[in-house]
Symmetry: C2
Subunit: 192 residues, 2 copies
Amino acid sequence: MENRTLLLQCAKELFYAKGYDAVGVQEIVEKAGLTKPTLYYYFGSKIGILRTLIETKFEELRISVQKALDSEGDIRIHLYHLAEAYCYCFERDREFYMLMMALFYSARENEAYKAIRPYVTEFYETVVKVFENASGELGNMNGRQRQFAVGFIGTVNHYLLVHCELDPEQKEEISREQINSLVNQFMYGIFS
Amino acid sequence: MENRTLLLQCAKELFYAKGYDAVGVQEIVEKAGLTKPTLYYYFGSKIGILRTLIETKFEELRISVQKALDSEGDIRIHLYHLAEAYCYCFERDREFYMLMMALFYSARENEAYKAIRPYVTEFYETVVKVFENASGELGNMNGRQRQFAVGFIGTVNHYLLVHCELDPEQKEEISREQINSLVNQFMYGIFS
DNA sequence: CAGTTTATATACCGAACGGTATAATAGGAG
DNA sequence: CTCCTATTATACCGTTCGGTATATAAACTG
């Protein structure tokens, strides 16, 4: 493996296990069997390596989300494909997805949170648009699109957290029925 | 205010805003207008001040949760009172509740997570028991009590997070109807 | 008043922090 | 072979980290 990739991998594992602020640059390069100038050569700074990590992975997620939203169908279908895209990303790299979630819930003035914020906002806005485009089906939402979007993302994230707790070894993958019932439960919450 | 209480207050605000690892002991005592030995006199270590913070606040939550579970009624009533207890804790000290949530989602090998883990586990087990005691009403749960417990806590937490997003100034308090519909939505998820 | 306890400050510790100036090494191109 | 670029290491920078030895001031206790 290239040293650049190796550093990204080691950093991801350490950030996931201990948290961004609790990991030192020294620790990352030691794990990779390299030295600090190598890390600074590729990424420029400690936050730079986190940013690279986020950008790389989000690009993958962005593609599958776009594919999900291009599909034909009602809002239920779109939400299903959206949830599917998240679950797919989760299953491909649990460590990264969990790291992302930890960052999402971390302190607002933290540097690591500021690094992930624009990406989270981007996806949040994408989901808001899904609800706005569905006003024909859902009727007047009284400006609750934002609430729905936060709710939907939260429901999916929470589902994945529970899934992680119940299947730590990642033995079974998330089924279509599970994703379907997740979306249904969320939709019920809207109409009730 | 006593210097001890002042230090706890300042630490809470900083941990909430920046995260435990990103805050230095120096920063805490400067905000309080004191010096390091004073902090070490009262709390012994940096993690000691977080532990004191958690223990103090959890004692309050523990009392209101116990009161909720002592009430007569079916599982829906118990869950309602439980959700009410969480919401009450949240409204009394949003900063602390949000800090708790951030810690809950933080990295598993982080010192701060280890400090809060026993308390989270304690409440988690309490909620598991609520579901176990309701086997008469809910029928055979196929050992899904744990899943329900994680689900319930996650639903409440997520609701409070959204609430925070939509009412950042904390103008209106959470109504009985809101708590009721939250519990109903969760119960629907179980039966579906 | 003398002795003890409680509470606070000054001034310091070694270690780790993020980051860098500089040089050596390696590989390809002319 | 020689130059150039890409990559890596040695050795260091000033700052901040969590934590403490020691002294002092105030408040209680006999």
